[in-house]
């Protein structure tokens, strides 16, 4: 299993490479009016307008910084929709097996997308489950045709 690594609020996180369509540099985003702070906006990816989630903001930290290493991972959300995940330091991948992962011990109801922990030399990497990223009401707003 390959994890695409990135950092949010000083902590390392990873998403499964299998659901990543492509990693792209941060383009000019069109902000969503009256949306929560962690919805950074939308952009056109290969002819499709997709929403972008600011992950550092979503996990309760400062918004993603405008650096060269800050990128957007275009992922397939619940099998059919495209969704952008913006985060800092999205420059590395890591190969690991399912056995190496361990439960985090505490699961917050407000953050159902945070999964198991992978111990590493630079600190633990938490797995982020893309399909649970959006709360239901946001999901209904973003993809109303379901």
């Amino acid at each position: 299993m390959l994890l695409l690594l990135f950092q949010a609020a000083g902590q390392s996180y990873g998403i499964e490479a299998g659901c990543v369509v492509e990693v792209v540099p941060v383009p000019r985003l069109r902000p969503l009016a009256l949306a929560p702070a962690w919805l950074a906006g939308t952009f056109t990816y290969r002819g499709t307008t997709i929403p972008v989630v600011d992950l550092p903001a979503l996990v309760g930290g400062a918004p993603a910084r405008p650096l060269m290493s800050t990128r957007i991972a275009v992922v397939r959300y619940q099998g059919e929709h495209l969704l952008g995940i913006m985060a800092d330091n999205m420059t590395e991948t890591l190969s690991c097996s399912q056995e190496e992962l361990s439960s985090p011990g505490v699961r917050m109801d407000e953050a159902p997308f945070l999964g198991d922990l992978l111990p590493a030399a630079t600190g633990a990497i938490q797995r982020v489950t893309v399909d649970r990223l959006l709360p239901d009401e946001v999901k209904e707003r973003l993809f109303p045709d379901d």
């Binding site: 390959l2 695409l4 490479a17 299998g18 990543v20 492509e22 990693v23 792209v24 540099p25 060269m68 290493s69 990128r71 999205m90 420059t91 590395e92 991948t93």
Partner: protein, 664 residues
């Protein structure tokens, strides 16, 4: 005119004025009274005429009656004769303006008639006729002479007309008719004579008489109208009887005669009444004229007496105060002021004018004059007091002036001494100024030396300025080199950025490649390793680029410091150049001033000479001043003399005033 009037006293003038008024008044009064008197006299004459007229009227009626009766009724004829005698007697006593000659003639005729008693009518008739004509003439003359016919009052005029003109004629004619009745009718064929007689009676005239008498009834008389009516009735009765007379019947003739007699009696009553009423009117007229005369006299005399009294009172009230004022003025002139004041006291004034206390508003000019005089006496008294006091003050002032003059004299003496001292001092000033002028000249020379020295300083300063300019240019060059270095380092920075961007893209590519390889599974494991390697190279490149960037940053910082240092240095050099430039400017100003000072010294020198001349003039002026002081001294002497004469004048004034105060 005024010159002549001024010779008379006030009383005389008033007398003249009064006489001027009284004279025309007296003349007017005379004419008025004379007019009344004339009216009264005329009326009296008329009254007397009327009295005489009464007697004549009786005669004019009695004589025809006697003529008628003489033939057949001797008894009544004798009675009539007696009455005629009485009438003549009365006529003789009357005061009227009767023609005595005519009366005497008539009396003569009558005596002859009485003597020819028993004569035939043919003998006596001419005598009767003559007597009647005489009486008629007497009536006419009396009417004319007494002014009865020309009576001026309309009221009595008509009555006069009836009494004097108409009635005598109609009665006379009627008597003839009756005579004819008595004589002619009883005879056969006497009817013609009667008719002739009757035709002589003018009935229209009779009507006219009645009208006239009626016109006169508007006045006071009341008997006339009835009498006129009675007369008219008697006339119509007589005429009807005359128309219906039967000449054969003696009784009818007798009736006609009786009727004629009644008519005659009625006419007589009317005549008498007219005379009496006219007399009454005349009496009334006289009484009224007398009343008017009395009223006119009373009014005129009363008003003249009152005016004379008022004039006398005015004269006395005016003259007495004036005389009193004249006496008081004499007292004042003689200097007896207290007596004069007593003379114009309120009580005294009241005694002079002769009146009790009079309120202010009712006081006439004399009062006001006396009041004013009293005020004047009071003012004069106060004035004298003031003059006396002022005399004392002026005397004191004169003494003070004399003292002041003495003081002034001593001060003038001191001034002369001071002036002399000032003269000496000004001479010393003159000498000092001369010396000062000499010193100024040497100062002027020193100033021109200073100008030369300053010129030398200027020259060396321009050398320094040139050196500093070179220094400044060098610094500018250094600054340019440093700028070049900065530009080069910036270029290197751009290259490093490009390298970094490439490394970034490479990293991205290798990431996506790794992801794709993961998706491809085990077949792409080798591709995954290559991707990892590419990613490591890209990271190294990025690290190298970071190093270069750091070095360039350090170099840029040092260059920045160098540029700052050079700029600081350049600024200092520029400040130095400005400093030198300012110094040079100041030096130039100094030189300029020093150059300009030269002429100033000249001016001061000239001024000094002027001052020295001025000092000389001051000395001369001081000399003149001392002469003026001497003149002032002599003027002061004159002033003292004037003060002395002022004092003596005041003494004379006090003497004059003392004359007023000395009296008791």
């Amino acid at each position: 005119m005024n010159r002549y009037l001024a010779r008379f006293t006030l009383a005389q003038k008033l007398l003249i004025g009064g006489a001027g008024f009284a004279l025309p008044l007296a003349i007017l009064l005379y004419y008025t009274v004379a007019g009344f008197n004339r009216t009264i006299r005329d009326a009296e004459a008329e009254r007397a005429g009327l009295e005489a007229m009464n007697s004549l009227r009786e005669l004019a009626e009695l004589v025809p009656l006697h003529q008628r009766l003489a033939a057949y009724d001797l008894g009544r004829a004798g009675q009539a004769a007696k009455q005629i005698d009485v009438a003549f007697e009365r006529l003789g006593r009357t005061r009227g303006a009767i023609d005595r000659k005519l009366v005497a003639g008539a009396l003569e005729h009558w005596r002859r008639l009485r003597e020819s008693q028993g004569a035939s009518p043919e003998e006596t008739d001419p005598r009767y006729t003559e007597l009647r004509e005489t009486i008629t003439r007497a009536i006419k003359r009396l009417a004319d002479d007494s002014g009865l016919v020309l009576d001026p009052e309309l009221e009595s005029y008509y009555l006069m007309q009836v009494a004097v003109v108409f009635m005598p004629k109609i009665q006379d004619d009627l008597a003839d008719v009756l005579l004819s009745v008595r004589r002619d009718l009883p005879k056969g064929g006497g009817a013609l004579a009667f008719a002739t007689r009757l035709s002589t009676l003018d009935w229209a005239e009779l009507e006219h008489i009645r009208e006239t008498a009626r016109s006169a009834t508007a006045g006071m008389q009341s008997r006339i109208p009835q009498l006129i009516e009675a007369h008219a009735a008697a006339t119509s009765a007589f005429l009807s009887k005359a128309g219906a007379v039967n000449l054969e019947d003696a009784a009818s003739i007798e009736e006609l005669y009786a009727s004629g007699d009644r008519l005659l009696a009625a006419g007589s009553s009317l005549w008498q009444a007219s005379c009496e009423e006219a007399g009454a009117l005349l009496n009334a007229r006289v009484a009224e004229a007398r009343t008017r005369r009395l009223v006119a006299l009373l009014i005129t005399l009363t008003s003249v007496t009152a005016a004379a009294g008022l004039m006398l009172s005015v004269a006395r009230n005016t003259v007495r105060p004036l005389e009193h004022v004249a006496a008081v003025a004499g007292e004042i002139a003689a200097g007896r002021l207290k007596q004069a004041q007593r003379g114009v006291s309120e009580d005294q004034l009241r005694a002079v004018i002769g009146a009790a206390a009079v309120p202010g508003w009712a006081r006439d000019e004399s009062w006001r004059l006396l009041d004013a005089f009293r005020g004047m006496c009071g003012s004069l008294h106060a004035l004298l007091g003031d003059v006396r006091q002022s005399g004392v003050q002026v005397m004191g002032s004169a003494t003070q002036i004399a003292a002041a003059i003495r003081q002034l004299e001593s001060m003038v003496g001191r001034q002369a001494a001071s002036t002399r001292q000032a003269e000496a001092t000004s001479k010393e000033i003159y000498a000092t100024v001369e010396e000062l002028a000499q010193r100024m000249e040497s100062l002027s020379e020193m100033a021109s030396d200073a100008v030369k020295l300053a010129d030398d300083g200027m020259r060396s300063l321009s050398g320094i300025t040139a050196t500093i300019d070179t220094l400044s240019q060098t610094a500018d060059g250094l600054s340019g080199v440093l700028d070049e270095i900065r530009r080069q380092s910036e270029r290197i920075g751009a290259v490093v950025e490009t390298i970094t961007r490439i490394a970034n893209r490479t990293n991205l590519l290798s990431l996506n490649a790794a992801i794709e390889a993961e998706k491809a599974g085990k077949h792409a494991a080798g591709f995954s390793v290559v991707a990892l390697e590419v990613r490591r190279l890209a990271d190294q490149t990025a690290v190298a680029a970071l190093d270069i960037e750091e070095s360039i940053g350090a170099m840029r910082e040092s260059v920045q410091n160098g540029v700052a240092a050079v700029e600081e240095y350049t600024a200092q050099v520029r400040r130095g150049a400005a400093e030198v430039s300012r110094t040079s400017e100041s030096l130039e100003h100094l030189i300029e001033y020093t150059r300009k000072l030269g002429p100033h010294y000249e001016a001061v020198n000239t001024g000094m000479q002027g001052q020295s001349e001025g000092a000389g003039q001051i000395t001369a002026a001081m000399r003149e001043l001392s002469g003026a002081a001497a003149d002032t001294s002599s003027a002061l002497t004159e002033l003292r003399a004037a003060a002395d004469s002022l004092r003596s004048a005041v003494a004379v004034l006090r003497q004059g005033v003392a004359r007023f105060s000395e009296e008791a």
